[in-house]
Symmetry: C2
Subunit: 517 residues, 2 copies
């Protein structure tokens, strides 16, 4: 991993032929001579099936936060609804989400004395997004998040029990589920959808979005009995959407071919935090039918992942609870190098610039106060988080120059006492204390691909737009498959708000469509 | 203009409803209720015309550097070729280009003793592009630029007479045309194309890319007798492409609706340097037919434009020749604020952060040595560049605090003497001298939209790819309508190299197609 980091900058240059070749092999891009591959699917969006195998009012693609919220609302509005999911289980990435739901002015905030407002959340999202965000979408999320959270609590029965902070937010506004996982919400959505009579087809993969001669989305071609990732598996079927198709198929963090077109640096040398099915074929199928994509090249790296565990892992839960309570250190120098409460992109870029994994650490007070016990236990089981009796032991374990490191911790402790970081302007919370109480805990950090900010163009009604800059009738989308909500950077804890807010809007609006009337 | 600058940061937030409404009005995005607009064109890419009005082997869309290079090569390879151009005159943006052609290891460089290489040019382009560039495309330009320049000289008879520097390049490598304008090249391309028998249809606008049932591009629907910008003008006709369609329709700097989807900040408050026809409808028509776009949200602002003249104007020619010879000053403080030789994005961002127009200035020595006399004369005619007898007069004219300004000029002069800028690391050229010799010349700078880095996905054969990640058979593209060559930032002087290199490749490959047996 250390090597991965060190050669990062050189990768693009030294391996550009290899790298381009690699992308080509996966993506089907030819790199020599005249390109010869097939493109028979190009005109296929407008080809109608001979017969439809099934018919529903609303067809939802994907079974994460957004898809199930859409299905529940569509069904409650009287529409017969099917959810198709290519994987063996429902939940997509949502089921492995960390369970933090950012919303302003919530009960947990009021209990904690945190002052917040939709306006402040809007401003935080726009600033992190480098003002590339589509303002009306951001406004829809920021002003709708509290209601969406209360829907999860009151209608679904999900429990939110503590308040967390994520870098880039002005205040603590992440309402954490009781089990510190998105599964608390998505499983309750799933149970609710089933109880309402929503049909769920697992192992069913969308292959094509079908549009009629008027450009209206009227159904999908799928593979039933699909076994991820075997593209030859499954049997073709056609599902008609009498009212609308809703795309909630998530992002493409695990689609190496697609992400290399958008950001060629992101070769297979970068792991992803996502479930394996986070590939972009449904999004691309929509674009093949004329739907417009936007800001696809903004691909977020999580700065809080560890090279010492697979996937998302538990270190992010350790790291994100500690920022503002403990220092982040470059082990080569024994010094801090960036503000720990910076946003995801700032921190990931800073770590990549360092060129090798860095260390996040805390003492007994901060870790026990901040880190969810099960997360700490799990992270320690895998060895990704380690426990030390002394600061010297920390230095020894990670090859940190001891004297410089001890000086830096002393300096950090001074900042914590004054509640002001004169070096990097890290936000230090009022209840933070100097890092002095053994045992100490530490983990290595190296970025992984975490979220794809870009996706389909939608308006505040979750209506998808096409490359003709007009609505694609009968097509809605919500969640990570859409673009414009987060701009350049998605802040931590905003995904659930985005998905529930826009998923519900998509479901309600889809049910109102009267296409075949 | 000063006001425009000052409210810039607040614009997105304060006006987000207004702004979103503005985009909606232009783009046809609805913002209230269920979207109702039409999308009949969606399935239309696959609809064949009843009859074709004209037939050519190769149909080229656009008559700038890239389009005419493509047409010449296609014709020379034996293909009957038509160029369609929606405006009244040929040349597109190329005809108002500044005439700088970056290429490594050229005759002018050798005469000036500048050491350069394709590898160095490649590295400069990748670094400026934040490594988002598609490496094989960058390589094609960097290693092909010298040959393309020599084709312009030896085959077309274009003259290049001096060597210039642009920010972000490691060395002087911009070979400037004899008339300091792209017209030197594009007019000679036009004459050559005509002499070879290439047919040119002016006032003919592409409305639709037509693909057959196999997904192959087979022709275009156009409006003949089109009067820009009247979308109701012109008469529909269909032009068949027996071999291939080549898109060289340029960027979308003047397409406010499209640029606001990609980067919502870029409202109509920002002017553009481009010709009025730099709108994105041909690019969007290709995407409607399944072609894939990439990195469209990277829209370049020129940091060297003046609010005191329209369009591109003459100040950029003044400013870009002075960087590395004269200082750039924030008039509110009388101080420098950023390295004058930084790349375009760095400088534009820095000026926007300042929030109001800044001053670029030089003395008699640097201006007379560096600035093309006609450019200086033209810029002074409009009043955008002013002449002063003393530094005090400069300060007075722009409301600069005099003492601070004089101190700063003294400091700058010290850096020039030492050939080292300790404040901002500006590259100071060996022949630069302290700014001391009256008269002094100065101009105000405020960014304008200049170039759209994103566009269609191509490979090194100029073959367009679709959202199925496969080649769109029969479709090639070159120049600003493509994406991936420049990544996040296009360096100055690289557009002509990009256009000529890829235009020629597209023309040659299009002529080799054998679609209809």
């Amino acid at each position: 991993m250390k090597d991965d980091g060190k050669v990062k900058k050189g990768l693009t240059r030294r391996n550009f032929l290899k790298s381009a070749g690699g992308a080509a092999a996966v993506a089907g891009l030819t790199t020599g001579g005249i390109a010869l591959g097939a493109s028979e699917s190009r005109a296929a969006a407008g080809v109608m099936p001979r017969k439809w195998d099934e018919t529903f009012d609303v067809v939802v693609i994907g079974s994460g936060f957004a898809g199930l919220a859409a299905a529940i609302e569509a069904k409650n509005a009287g529409a017969s609804t099917v959810v198709i999911e290519k994987m063996m289980v429902h939940g997509g990435n949502s089921i492995i989400n960390g369970g933090d739901f950012c919303a302003p002015d919530t009960k947990l905030q009021r209990e904690a004395g945190v002052k917040d407002s939709p306006e402040l959340m809007y401003n935080d999202m726009m600033k992190a997004g480098a003002y590339l965000n589509h303002p009306e979408l951001v406004k829809t999320v920021a002003y709708g998040a509290k209601d969406a959270l209360e829907w999860c609590e009151n209608y679904l029965g999900a429990k939110f029990t503590r308040l967390n902070f994520h870098g880039g937010h002005s205040v603590k506004r992440a309402n954490q589920t009781a089990n510190a996982s998105g599964s608390e919400v998505v499983n309750k959505e799933f149970a609710k959808a089933k109880s309402l009579g929503v049909v769920v087809h697992l192992r069913t993969k969308m292959e094509r979005l079908i549009v009629d001669k008027n450009g209206r989305a009227v159904g999908v071609e799928v593979k039933k009995g699909y076994k991820f990732p075997d593209d030859k598996s499954g049997k073709t079927a056609f599902i008609k959407a009498k009212k609308a198709v809703i795309l909630t198929s998530g992002g493409f963090s695990n689609d190496i071919a697609l992400r290399q077109i958008e950001d060629p640096r992101l070769t297979d040398k970068f792991q992803s935090t996502n479930q394996p099915g986070a590939t972009g074929e449904a999004l691309l199928a929509a674009c093949m039918a004329g739907a417009m994509d936007v800001q696809m090249d903004w691909i977020q790296l999580g700065p809080w992942t560890s090279p010492d565990e697979k996937g998302f892992g538990y270190v992010p839960l350790f790291c994100e609870r500690l920022v503002g309570y403990g220092p982040m250190i470059d082990p080569a120098k024994g010094k801090r190098f960036f503000k720990e409460t910076g946003n995801r992109k700032e921190r990931a870029d800073a770590i990549i610039l360092i060129g090798h994994p860095v260390i996040i650490m805390g003492d007994s007070y901060s870790v026990n106060k901040q880190v969810f016990p099960r997360a700490l236990e799990k992270a320690m089981e895998s060895g990704a988080v380690k426990k030390f009796d002394t600061l010297e032991d920390v230095a020894k374990a990670y090859n940190i120059p001891v004297a410089a490191f001890l000086d830096e911790i002393k300096k950090w402790n001074g900042f914590v006492e004054k509640k002001k970081d004169s070096d990097f302007d890290c936000m230090i919370f009022p209840d933070a204390k100097p890092t002095t109480v053994p045992p100490f805990y530490a983990a290595r950090l190296w970025p992984k691909v975490h979220h794809t900010m870009g996706g389909l163009v939608i308006d505040k009604n979750a209506q998808v737009f096409g490359f003709d800059l007009k609505p694609v009738k009968g097509l809605y989308a919500a969640g990570e498959v859409t673009g414009g909500v987060h701009g350049a950077v998605r802040l931590g804890g905003v995904a659930m708000a985005d998905c529930i807010v826009f998923g519900r809007i998509a479901g309600k609006n889809a049910a109102k469509e009267n296409a075949w009337g």
